[in-house]
C-alpha cells in the first residue's frame, strides 16, 4: 500500500537547500527566516528527502513558537512526515508532538484550534490521536462555529479509523445531540455527514423526524440528504417510497446545484414516467437558465443518458431541448442537434424542421464568425431528418439550395450531396430540383460543388427542355470561346511569371493528401483552396464560374464538364427528333472540349493539363464522334445504377450499425453473469463493496487494481540478468494508465552476503523514475522483491535500463551487473478509436510528423496483410469493409487509434500487388508528436514481416 500524497509544491532543483542551513535558521529567532526554513524543509520532504535530523530541531525550536504561520506550517510538516516505522508501528518520538497538538486544541485562538482539528482529519495513527480525544470532544461545544465545524469532521475521521469504534464508541450519540442543537449551516452539514457515514440509521431518523423542514435547510445539507437517500435506496429499494416526496419538495429550492442533484437522484430511484419527466424537465430548465457553457454541456450529457433509457419521455420535450440552440457555442449546438436527431418522430418532425429552418435563415443575417460551421451542422441535421422522413425533403430542399453559392465550401458540399441524394430518392421532386439547380448554377463558386452539380445535371436532365437548358447553362458559365486569345498569350506569359510566384507559394504548401476512398494521392495543383489569381480573371467575371475555375487550372473540372456535355448529348439524341439539332449541339460541345485541351496545352497557365483529365476529355471527344448502343448504355444507365447501389449500401451500413448497437445492450442467453460480490475485492472493505457507485471515486483516485489473469502475468516476466550471474534478477512489468510498476525479484546466487545492493534504473523516452533507489543487504541465496514506479507522460516506446550494484565483505569495490533493457510497448497505450472521414483528413493535413515505412512482407494477400497490421498495431480500420472487397491488386485503407493521453495516431496503408505476387507499397504514420510516429513505425517495421 503506497502512501497517499496530500500536497504537491513545485520545487526548483536549482537552489537546493542544505539541511544544515535549514537547521540553523530553525534554531534562530528570526521569524521570517524560520518560516522560510520551515517551507524549505517541507519542500525537501516532498521531494523525497527524509531529513530525520530535522525532527528533533523542529520539536525543540519550532513547536513552542507562538507565530501562527509557523504553527500552520508545522501541521503541514507533521502531515507529510513518516510517522511509522517499517513495521507500521508509530515512532516513539511522535509522542512528543501530542502535547503540542493538545495545547493547540485548547489554544485561545479559535483558528489555531480549527486548523489543528482539520489536521487531525488527515491523521491515521490511533496512538497519536487517542490522547487527544478528550480535547477534540470539548471542541464540539465551542462557541465558535469554525471550531465546531472542524471538530465534527475530526470526530468523523477518527471514528472511521480502523480502531475508531473502540476509542470513540459514543461518537454517533454525541454528534446526534450536536445536530439537534446546531445552528451553523456548515457545522450542521458536517454533523449530518458524520451520521450518514457512521450511523446511517440515525441520519435517516433525523431526516424523517424533520421531514417538513427539509426544504428550508441549507443547500449543503440538502445535498447530503440527497446523497443519503440515494444510498439508502440503493441498498434497500423497498424504502424509496418514503423519500420520493422529499426529493420532489427539493425540486423547488433556489439552489441550482441542489435541483441538479435532485434530478439525478430521481432518475436513479425511479423509472416511472412521471419521475423521469420531472427530472428531464428540470434538466431542460437548467439548460435554459444557466449561462455557463460547462453546465449546459454536462446537462446535455445527462439528457443524452436519459434519452438512451427513456426515449419516449424525452420525445415530448424535444422542443425544450431544441431551445438550447440559442447558445452561441458550437459544442453545445452540436450536442443538442445530436440529441434532437435521435428523438425525431413522425409527430414532431415538422416542428423540428421548422425550427431548424429558422435557425438556418438566422445564420444568413448574423455576421458571427462561426456561422458557416453552424450552418453546415444544421444542413447535416436537416439532411438526416430528410432521410428518415422523406416527406419533409420537399419543404427544405429549396431553402437549402440557396446555400449552394455559400462561401463556406463545407456547407455548400453538404447541400449538394443532400440534393443529390434527394433527387434520387424522391423522384417527385426531380423536376423542380433540376429547374432550381439550373437557375442557381451560376452562383456556385467552389469546384467540388460544381463537379457534383454537373453530375446531377448530366444524370437527371431527362426531358428535351431540361437537356437543352442544361447545355445552355454550361455554355453560359463557360463563356465565350476560346478561353484565351493569342494576343493575351503574350501578356499572360509575363503576368504568369507573377502568378508563378503566387502559385509557387500555394504549391509549396501543397501536400500529399488522403482521398475519400483512402487512396494516397498528390492533389492536382489547383484544389478549391487556391482561388483564381486576379490577373487571369479579367473578363471572366461576366462569363461565369466554370470559366474562372478552368482558368485557374482546374482541369479535373474540365473533364467533368466534358463528361456532362457528353452525357447530355447522348440523352439529347434520344429525346430530340431532329438530327440536325443534335449535330449542331454536338459540334458546339466538341468545340468546347477542344478549347479546353488547347487551354491545357498553352503556356497561359503555369502548368499544363494533367494526363488523367486529358485522357478523359479526349475520350469524350471520340465518343461524341462515334456513338454506339453499348456506350450509350454505360453512360446513361450504369452511372445511375452504381449511384443507387452506393445509396443502398450506405443505408444498409447504417441499419447494420443500429442493429449492432441494439445487440450490444442485450446479453446473450448463455452469457456469464458477473456477481458483483464475488468479484475481486482486493483492499476493499465489505461496506464499500455494497456501494457500486463508489467505484467511480475509486477509479478516480486510482485505487482500482485489476486482477489480471495469473497465466497472463507469467508471460510478461522479463529476465534481466543471466542465470550464471552472481545476482539473478527478473521483472514483472505492469502498465497502468499513467505509470509503470516494475516488480523486480532479485536473487543472490552466491554464498556470500551482498551489501549495499542497489537497483539503479535509468530511462529513455518520456519516462521518469519516481523515487530514488534504496540499498539492501541480501543474505546468501536469499531473494528480495523490489518495486519501482515509473511515471509516463506520453505515448511512445520507452526503454528502461539499469544495473545492479553491490559490495561483498571481502572485496571493497562495488560490483556491477548490467541488466537487460526493458522495452515498454506502445501498444499498451493506444486503443482503437473511431473518427469521421473528414476529421481524419483534416488531422492528416495538420499533423507534422510523418513516418513512412516501406512494405516488406511475406504475406501475399493484400487483405491478409491489412488484417495483420491492424492486429499488430491495435488500431481500427476506418475504411468500410465493402471498399476493401474484391480482387483488384490494390488496397488503400486508413487506420486510427487514440492514446490514453488523448493523442491521435493516424495510419494509411497503400499497397499494390506486384506481378511476382509480392506486395509493395508504403505505410504512412502521422501524429502530432514525434514519439508516436517513431514508435508506431518501429512497431510496424518489426511486425510487418508477418508469417508467424
Amino acid at each position: 500500500m503506497e502512501k497517499s500524497c496530500s500536497l504537491l509544491v513545485h520545487f526548483d532543483k536549482g537552489t537546493p537547500a542544505i539541511a544544515n542551513e535549514i537547521k540553523e535558521a530553525l534554531e534562530g529567532n528570526d521569524m521570517p527566516a524560520k518560516i522560510d526554513a520551515m517551507m524549505k524543509a517541507i519542500m525537501l520532504l516532498l521531494n523525497g528527502e527524509t531529513l530525520p535530523q530535522l525532527f528533533i530541531t523542529i520539536i525543540r525550536y519550532v513547536l513552542p513558537s507562538e507565530d501562527h504561520t509557523i504553527q500552520k506550517l508545522l501541521l503541514l510538516y507533521l502531515e507529510i512526515i513518516e510517522k511509522t516505522d517499517a513495521k507500521g508501528r508509530v515512532l516513539p518520538e511522535m509522542i512528543l508532538i501530542c502535547q503540542n497538538l493538545r495545547n493547540n486544541l485548547q489554544h485561545p485562538n479559535e483558528y489555531i484550534r480549527g486548523v489543528t482539528l482539520r489536521f487531525l482529519c488527515r491523521l491515521k495513527e490511533t496512538e497519536i490521536i487517542e490522547p487527544l480525544i478528550p480535547s477534540v470532544l470539548q471542541n464540539l461545544e465551542h462557541r465558535h462555529p469554525f471550531i465546531r465545524r472542524n471538530a465534527i469532521l475530526a470526530v468523523m475521521s477518527i471514528y472511521k479509523l480502523p480502531q475508531g469504534e473502540q476509542i470513540l464508541g459514543d461518537a454517533p450519540d454525541m454528534i446526534e445531540k450536536v445536530l439537534l442543537t446546531e445552528q451553523d449551516q456548515s457545522a450542521k452539514r458536517n454533523a449530518f455527514l458524520m451520521l450518514f457515514n457512521c450511523a446511517q440509521d440515525r441520519a435517516i431518523n433525523y431526516l424523517l423526524t424533520h421531514i417538513e423542514r427539509v426544504s428550508e435547510w441549507g443547500d449543503m445539507l440538502q445535498m447530503v440528504v440527497l446523497e443519503l437517500i440515494r444510498k439508502v435506496c440503493r441498498t434497500n429499494r423497498g424504502e424509496k417510497g418514503k423519500y420520493i416526496k422529499i426529493i420532489i419538495s427539493l425540486l423547488n429550492v433556489p439552489s441550482t446545484a441542489v435541483i441538479y442533484e435532485c434530478a439525478g437522484t430521481l432518475v436513479s430511484l425511479s423509472s416511472a414516467p412521471t419521475a423521469i419527466r420531472a427530472a428531464a424537465n428540470t434538466y431542460c430548465q437548467l439548460l435554459l437558465s444557466q449561462s455557463d457553457n460547462n453546465v449546459k454541456l454536462i446537462v446535455l450529457d445527462r439528457l443524452n443518458e436519459l434519452k438512451s433509457s427513456h426515449r419516449d419521455i424525452l420525445v415530448d420535450l424535444i422542443m425544450d431541448v431544441l431551445r438550447a440552440l440559442s447558445s452561441p457555442n458550437l459544442d453545445i449546438r452540436r450536442k443538442t442537434l445530436d440529441i434532437v436527431l435521435d428523438l425525431i418522430t413522425p409527430r414532431n418532425i415538422n416542428e423540428v424542421v421548422l425550427t431548424l429552418k429558422k435557425e438556418v435563415v438566422k445564420t444568413q443575417s448574423g455576421e458571427l464568425e462561426k456561422n458557416g460551421e453552424y450552418r453546415q451542422m444544421l444542413i447535416q441535421a436537416i439532411h438526416s431528418c430528410a432521410i428518415k422522413f422523406p416527406e419533409v425533403a420537399s419543404t427544405v430542399v429549396h431553402l437549402l439550395m440557396d446555400f449552394l453559392g455559400d462561401s463556406n465550401v463545407g456547407s455548400a458540399v453538404d447541400v449538394i450531396v443532400f440534393v443529390r441524394e434527394i433527387i434520387e430518392t424522391n423522384p417527385k421532386l426531380r423536376v423542380s430540383i433540376i429547374t432550381r439547380l439550373l437557375d442557381t448554377f451560376y452562383q456556385i463558386r467552389a469546384a467540388r460543388v460544381c463537379t457534383c452539380a454537373l453530375w446531377i445535371i448530366g444524370e437527371y436532365c431527362l426531358s428535351l427542355s431540361e437537356v437543352g437548358s442544361g447545355i445552355a447553362t454550361i455554355k453560359q458559365c463557360l463563356g465565350e470561346l476560346p478561353f484565351y486569345s493569342v494576343s493575351e498569350e503574350e501578356e499572360a506569359t509575363e503576368s504568369s511569371k507573377k502568378d508563378n510566384q503566387v502559385n509557387s507559394i500555394t504549391l509549396s504548401s501543397k501536400r500529399p493528401a488522403i482521398l475519400a476512398d483512402g487512396t494516397y494521392a498528390t492533389q492536382s495543383a489547383a484544389s478549391e483552396t487556391t482561388f483564381s489569381p486576379p490577373t487571369l480573371v479579367q473578363g471572366s467575371l461576366t462569363s461565369g464560374n466554370l470559366r474562372t475555375l478552368l482558368l485557374t487550372g482546374d482541369f479535373f473540372l474540365g473533364a467533368v464538364v466534358a463528361c456532362t456535355l457528353t452525357k447530355l448529348l447522348l440523352r439529347l439524341e434520344e429525346v430530340q427528333q431532329s438530327k440536325v439539332e443534335v449535330n449542331k449541339e454536338s459540334t458546339r460541345a466538341l468545340l468546347i472540349m477542344v478549347s479546353m485541351l488547347q487551354l491545357g496545352q498553352s503556356s497561359v497557365l503555369p502548368h499544363p493539363i494533367d494526363n488523367d483529365s486529358y485522357d478523359r476529355i479526349v475520350l469524350c471527344i471520340r465518343l461524341l464522334c462515334n456513338t454506339g448502343d453499348e456506350i450509350r448504355k454505360i453512360w446513361l444507365q450504369s452511372c445511375r445504377q452504381s449511384f443507387v447501389q452506393m445509396l443502398s449500401e450506405k443505408q444498409l451500413q447504417e441499419t447494420q450499425e443500429i442493429k449492432a448497437k441494439a445487440q450490444i445492450s442485450h446479453a446473450q442467453p448463455d452469457d456469464l453473469i458477473d456477481f458483483y460480490h464475488l468479484k475481486s475485492r482486493k483492499g476493499m472493505s465489505q461496506l464499500e463493496l455494497e456501494d457500486a457507485v463508489q467505484d467511480d471515486l475509486k477509479r478516480a483516485t486510482g485505487e482500482f487494481v485489476k486482477d489480471g489473469d495469473d497465466a497472463n502475468k507469467l508471460s510478461r516476466i522479463l529476465q534481466l540478468t543471466g542465470f550464471s550471474d552472481p545476482v539473478y534478477a527478473e521483472a514483472y512489468v505492469t502498465v497502468h494508465h499513467y505509470d509503470i510498476v516494475l516488480d523486480v525479484t532479485v536473487i543472490n546466487r552466491t554464498k556470500e552476503t551482498l551489501q549495499n545492493l542497489c537497483l539503479e534504473l535509468a530511462t529513455m523516452g518520456d519516462l521518469k523514475l519516481v523515487e530514488r533507489p534504496q540499498n539492501y543487504t541480501l543474505a546468501p541465496e536469499s531473494s528480495k522483491q523490489i518495486k519501482a514506479n515509473i511515471k509516463v507522460s506520453s505515448t511512445e516506446t520507452g526503454v528502461i535500463f539499469g544495473n545492479i550494484v553491490y559490495e561483498t565483505s571481502n572485496v571493497h569495490e562495488r560490483t556491477v551487473v548490467v541488466l537487460n533493457d526493458i522495452h515498454i510497448d506502445i501498444m499498451d497505450y493506444i486503443s482503437p478509436a473511431v473518427c469521421g472521414d473528414v476529421a481524419f483528413r483534416t488531422m492528416w493535413a495538420e499533423f507534422e510528423w510523418e513516418n513512412k515505412v516501406a512494405v516488406n512482407t511475406v504475406i501475399q494477400d493484400e487483405k491478409d496483410f491489412l488484417d495483420h497490421i491492424i492486429k499488430s498495431t491495435n488500431m481500427k480500420c476506418l475504411t468500410a469493409p465493402s471498399a476493401l472487397d474484391g480482387e483488384c491488386g490494390f488496397l488503400a485503407a486508413n487506420l486510427y487509434a487514440k492514446s490514453v493521453f488523448g493523442e491521435d495516431a493516424l495510419v494509411n496503408v497503400s499497397i499494390e500487388k506486384q506481378a511476382d505476387g509480392k506486395l509493395s507499397g508504403y505505410i504512412r504514420i502521422r501524429s502530432k508528436t514525434q514519439g508516436i510516429a517513431l514508435s508506431l513505425g518501429d512497431k510496424i517495421t518489426l511486425k510487418q514481416k508477418g508469417g508467424s
Binding site: 503506497e2 497517499s4 500524497c5 496530500s6 500536497l7 513545485h10 517541507i42 523525497g48 527524509t50 530525520p52 500552520k72 506550517l73 513518516e82 513495521k87 507500521g88 495545547n103 485561545p108 480549527g114 486548523v115 461545544e141 469554525f146 465545524r149 472511521k160 445531540k177 449551516q185 455527514l193 450511523a199 440509521d201 421531514i211 449543503m220 445535498m223 446523497e227 424509496k240 417510497g241 418514503k242 420532489i248 419538495s249 446545484a257 441538479y260 442533484e261 416511472a272 414516467p273 412521471t274 457553457n293 460547462n294 453545445i332 472493505s685 467511480d696 471515486l697 477509479r699 478516480a700 519516481v770 523515487e771 534504496q774 511515471k791 509516463v792 507522460s793 490514453v900 493521453f901 488523448g902
Partner: protein, 557 residues
C-alpha cells in the same frame, strides 16, 4: 510490498490489516491545483487519499487534454473530470470524479479564482511558487475533506489571518497575572531582603546568593507553565475562560427543552410540506404508475426509540408485547402466541443501583421468567426485580440497538377465540364476471387499536379494484397486488366495520392470507412499574415507562 523503505516518503507498508481510509462521499473534489500552461505542477492540494504517482499522472495528462478554441472549461476522461479556468499563463483546476455536481464545482472554482490573486504576488510561475503555502492554506478553507464550504473571500482572509480577539484577551489576562505575580514576587523578595538585611546584620556573606536563587526559580516556573499544558497549570486555567460559560448555556438549553419536542411523532396528518396542488398531482401520477409513495412517513417505531430520541430520562422501562396469531378463514384460532418483554435502560452509571417494583395484571395464562441474573425469590415474593448481587449495578448506556437490558419475559398461548383482539371475516362471492368480496372486522373491547392495516392479496390486476363501500381508507399497491385497508383508530365508536370491493372473477383462495398490523397501548399482561427503589439511598430517580402491544405476524389463512 516493500518493508525496507522506512526513509522513503513514497513507500509505506502497513502490516496490520489495511482498511481503506474513509471514502466519505461520492461527490468530492479530489484535488485543487495550479499548473502552468506548459504542464508544470506549481501547487496542488489533495482532499482525498491518493498516491503521488496518481495525482502527478492526472495533472501531467491535463495540459494534453485541454484543447484550444473551446468555449467550455471542463475535460472529462474515463475516470475523472477536470474543471479549470485559465488565469493568465496558468491553469487553476479542480480534479473531481465524474459523479461530481458540476454546478457546485464551478462555484468552488469561481471562489478559488478570486482567492488566487489575493494571495499570489503575481499570476505567473514565480509568484505562485513564492506563495504556494499561503495558497494551500486558503484552499484548505474552501474545501474540507473534498466538500465545499459556504464561505466568502472575506471570511477566508479572516480565517487565514487568524486574528483572534479571544487570544488577545487571553494574552492580556496572562500578562496581568504575570504582572500581578511579579508584584507579589517583588514584595516577597523585598520582604526576604528585609529579613536578610536583618539577618545580614548578623551574617553578611550568604545574602546575595540567596536572593538571586529565589527569584530565578520563580521566573523559570513561569516560562514552564506558559509553554506546557495550558489546561492544567495554574494560570492556564484561563483557557477555559469563556468556554466554561458556554458549556453551561448549552447544557441548560438541552435540559430546559421539553423532551416531547424531540420525541413527539410527527402529526397524524403526515407531511404537509408544500402540498400544493401540483405536488399532489405529481404524487398521484407517480402512484398511478406503480411507485410506492408513503403519505405518512414516520420514523420506524422500533428504531426511533433507540436512535431518534436521545433519552432524556435517566431510566427508561419498556413493556412490549408481540402477537403471533393465525386465524382460520372460517373462524377459529389455529395459533395464538404472545411474547412479552420488560426492558430496562439506564443512562448513567450512578443510577445503576436500583430495584424495580412491578405489578402484574394477574392474568393466569401468563408465565413470567426472569433474567438469570435476577433475584428470583425477591420477584416471586414481593414482585420486585433486583439483581442477585445487590452490589452490582445494572448495565448502563445504550448498548447496541436493543432498547436496554431485558429483565423479564413472559409468554401466553391460547386457542380461545374470545381473547383475540381483532377478527376478520372475508366473503368472496362470484357473480357473473365479477367477484364481490366483503370483509368485516370485529375488535374485542379489551383494546383500542391504532394504525390498523389490513392487507388483502388480490389477483394481478391492471387497475385498482372497485371499492364499493368502506369504513376507513384504502390504497392499492399495484406492484404487489395488495389492497390495503387502513383504519387509524379502532375504539368503542367503531368496534366493527366492513368494506366491499369488486374484482374480475377469481378463485376465493386468492384473497388469503390476509395479514393485519396494528398497535395498542395496553397489554395482555397489564404489567406496570410501580416504583423504582434506589439501593444506595436518596430519592427515587425519575423514570419513564413505555407500554406497547404490536403485531409480529397476524394472519388470516
Amino acid at each position: 510490498m516493500i518493508q525496507e523503505a522506512p526513509g522513503s516518503i513514497f513507500f509505506v507498508t502497513l502490516k496490520h490489516s489495511v482498511k481503506l481510509f474513509v471514502l466519505y462521499w461520492n461527490k468530492v473534489v479530489l484535488a485543487a491545483s495550479i499548473v502552468s500552461k506548459t504542464g508544470k505542477v506549481l501547487v496542488s492540494r489533495q482532499f482525498v487519499d491518493m498516491t503521488r504517482i496518481r495525482i502527478e499522472g492526472l495533472l501531467a495528462a491535463f495540459p494534453k487534454l485541454v484543447g484550444t478554441g473551446k468555449q467550455h472549461t471542463y475535460v472529462e476522461t474515463e475516470n475523472v473530470r477536470y474543471v479549470y479556468q485559465p488565469v493568465e499563463a496558468l491553469y487553476l483546476l479542480l480534479v473531481t470524479n465524474k459523479q461530481s455536481n458540476i454546478l457546485e464545482d464551478l462555484d468552488t472554482l469561481r471562489l478559488l479564482s478570486k482567492l488566487v490573486p489575493e494571495y499570489a504576488y503575481s499570476l505567473d510561475e514565480e509568484g505562485i511558487c513564492k506563495t504556494a503555502f499561503e495558497l494551500i492554506f486558503a484552499f484548505d478553507e474552501v474545501i474540507s475533506l473534498g466538500h465545499k464550504e459556504n464561505v466568502t473571500v472575506a471570511q477566508i482572509k479572516q480565517y487565514c489571518e487568524m486574528e483572534s480577539h479571544e487570544e488577545k484577551l487571553h494574552k492580556m489576562v496572562m500578562q496581568s497575572k504575570i504582572n500581578e505575580t511579579k508584584d507579589v514576587m517583588k514584595r516577597k523578595a523585598s520582604e526576604i531582603d528585609k529579613s536578610k538585611i536583618e539577618k545580614g546584620r548578623v551574617d553578611k556573606g550568604g545574602f546575595m546568593s540567596l536572593q538571586s536563587m529565589g527569584s530565578g526559580r520563580i521566573e523559570s516556573s513561569f516560562s514552564d507553565m506558559s509553554i506546557s499544558d495550558g489546561g492544567s497549570g495554574g494560570f492556564g486555567s484561563s483557557s477555559g475562560f469563556g468556554l466554561s460559560t458556554d458549556i453551561e448555556s448549552f447544557s441548560s438549553k438541552s435540559k430546559g427543552r421539553p423532551p416531547s419536542s424531540a420525541t413527539a411523532p410527527p402529526k397524524g396528518l403526515g407531511m404537509q410540506l408544500g402540498k400544493s396542488q401540483k405536488t399532489n398531482q405529481f404524487l398521484e401520477s407517480l402512484k398511478a404508475e406503480g411507485e410506492v409513495i408513503l403519505e405518512d412517513v414516520q420514523p420506524k417505531a422500533g428504531q426511533s426509540r433507540s436512535a431518534a430520541l436521545p433519552l432524556t430520562d435517566p431510566i427508561t422501562l419498556t413493556v412490549e408485547e408481540k402477537l403471533n396469531v393465525m386465524l382460520k378463514r372460517d373462524g377459529g384460532v389455529s395459533n395464538f402466541d404472545l411474547q412479552g418483554t420488560l426492558l430496562l435502560q439506564i443512562l448513567n452509571q450512578e443510577d445503576g443501583h436500583i430495584q424495580v417494583q412491578i405489578e402484574t395484571g394477574g392474568n393466569p395464562g401468563i408465565l413470567f421468567k426472569t433474567h438469570p441474573n435476577m433475584n428470583k425469590e425477591l420477584f416471586s415474593n414481593e414482585n420486585i426485580l433486583g439483581l442477585k448481587d445487590p452490589n452490582r449495578p445494572f448495565p448502563t448506556g445504550q448498548t447496541g440497538d436493543a432498547a436496554g437490558v431485558g429483565l423479564l419475559k413472559w409468554r401466553m398461548q391460547s386457542t380461545d377465540e374470545s381473547i383475540v383482539p381483532l377478527t376478520i371475516n372475508c366473503w368472496p362471492s362470484v357473480s357473473g364476471n365479477d367477484t364481490y368480496v366483503s370483509i368485516e372486522y370485529e375488535a374485542s373491547s379489551m383494546f383500542d387499536l391504532r394504525s390498523v392495516v389490513i392487507s388483502v392479496p388480490l389477483p394481478a390486476l391492471r387497475e385498482a379494484p372497485n371499492v364499493r363501500q368502506i369504513d376507513g381508507e384504502w390504497r392499492y399497491d399495484s406492484r404487489n397486488s395488495i389492497l390495503e385497508w387502513s383504519i387509524l383508530l379502532i375504539d368503542h365508536s367503531n368496534r366493527s366495520g366492513s368494506m366491499e370491493f369488486v374484482v374480475p372473477a377469481a378463485d376465493s383462495s386468492v384473497f388469503f392470507p390476509i395479514s393485519v398490523q396494528f398497535s395498542a397501548t395496553n397489554t395482555f399482561s397489564d404489567l406496570k412499574v410501580l416504583n423504582i427503589i434506589p439501593l444506595k439511598g436518596g430519592s427515587p430517580p425519575k423514570y419513564a415507562q413505555r407500554t406497547q402491544l404490536i403485531t409480529d405476524n397476524y394472519q388470516v389463512v
